[in-house]
Amino acid sequence: MTQAHNTEHHGPAFTAYMVVFGALSIFTAISFVANFAERHGYLTVGMGFAIILAVAVVKAVLVGTYFMHLIVDWGKLYYFIFPTFILGAMFIVVLLPDIVLGWPHVGQVPSPPVGSSGAHD
């Protein structure tokens, strides 16, 4: 019984793997072309970034869904995979103030505090 369970294939079919492989290759080419277009001024920096990031997310979802068999196992594993994504996103979000608070000071020379005489009492 255990043997039968171990050798059973729960994942997608061969054709699905090949279609995903083709999609991943095409998406890699798209991100490369988007980067080229952005460098040569055909796309704005923001647009290029959005396309490249979206392509990376789609590729990761395809690998996870089909190659890692989450299309079958998601219902059994979501309860700890999903919180990991939330914590991962939160980790980056809580660090963002470092970037946002830095923007007003870009290129500015720090000025002394108001009322400072320049000498320590």
Binding site: Q3, S25, F49, I52, L53, A60, F67, K76, L95
Partner: protein
């Protein structure tokens, strides 16, 4: 009473996946957090540090070629396909075919690491290493920069020809003291060197033995991020390759069979995760 007990549904504790798969997914969850830490820190440094005067290094400045990154992405995607096919055919009892797919996966992983080694060699040749990049040329670092550039320009003046040689001699003359005083500051030298490199980029790409240390703002920070992220990723690739080698050894001594289908699936899960990490590292480091 006995009849009533028989009618009760059989309850199992835990989740409806094998212990092995659950363990691997828990391990992958910790790995997601690990790489999120690295990538998150990079995003903050990448977007929070540069100023309007001093921008984050471009791939050209740090000798990073986008097509090499894209090639490595394709190699890892191919290896993901071969490892998933190895599991697919193993589940159908075709052990020989599964071993062949594992062998191809191992070869593709080796190609990935070989390309990475070539990239690292390029960084080493151009001194794009943490702490070695001239991102600031003030104080003692400026004196170090002048000494380095004087040595490189002397080599170029002797070995190169044409415009590079004449420009090197011209810049060397400016580096000489005049009445005991410097004619040019390290920052001005850096600017001249950057212009000279930009003008003769093709020459320096063709002659890998001739170097010119350009000034790259935030170059050390970039190098630290690059080596931390790609280094840890390469270590994960290496870990996967070790497991593939063990599988091939088991196959060679006749101890690898359909009973290892689950093992192949679990190793595949790890390998696909390594692929996903690269899917994000490639655009972050090479493209965006």
């Amino acid at each position: 009473m006995a009849h009533a007990v028989e009618d009760e549904p059989i309850l199992h504790m835990g989740v409806a996946v094998s212990h092995g798969k659950l363990a691997v997914w828990i391990f992958l969850a910790t790995e997601i957090m690990f790489f999120t830490g690295l990538i998150g820190t990079y995003i903050v440094l990448r977007n929070g540090t540069p100023t309007t005067q001093e921008r984050w290094p471009t791939p050209e400045q740090v000798h990073l070629k986008e097509w090499i990154g894209a090639f490595n992405t394709f190699v890892l995607i191919c290896s993901s396909v071969t490892v998933v096919l190895a599991h697919y055919v193993m589940a159908k009892g075709r052990v020989g075919q599964a071993v062949a797919y594992v062998g191809v996966t191992l070869a593709l992983g080796c190609v990935f690491l070989a390309v990475k080694a070539v990239e690292y060699k390029s960084k080493y040749d151009h001194a794009i290493l943490p702490g070695h990049v001239f991102d600031r040329v003030e104080g003692q670092r400026g004196i170090d920069y002048l000494n380095t550039i004087k040595h490189q320009l002397t080599h170029l003046a002797e070995q190169a020809s044409g415009a590079v040689a004449s420009e090197s001699r011209e810049l060397l003359a400016l580096l000489e003291l005049k009445d005991g005083r410097a004619q040019i500051t390290p920052a001005q030298v850096g600017q001249r060197v950057n212009e000279m490199y930009e003008k003769n980029k093709e020459f320096f790409e063709e002659h890998s033995d001739m170097h010119l240390a350009t000034v790259i703002p935030f170059g050390n920070l970039w190098a630290s991020c690059y080596f931390a992220m790609t280094g840890f990723h390469a270590l994960h690739v290496l870990g996967g390759l070790v497991v593939f080698v063990i599988m091939l050894i088991m196959a060679a001594i006749g101890r690898f069979g359909v009973q290892h289908t689950s093992m192949l699936e679990l190793v595949g899960l790890y390998w696909h995760f390594v692929d996903i990490v690269w899917i994000f590292l490639f655009p972050l480091l090479y493209l965006v």
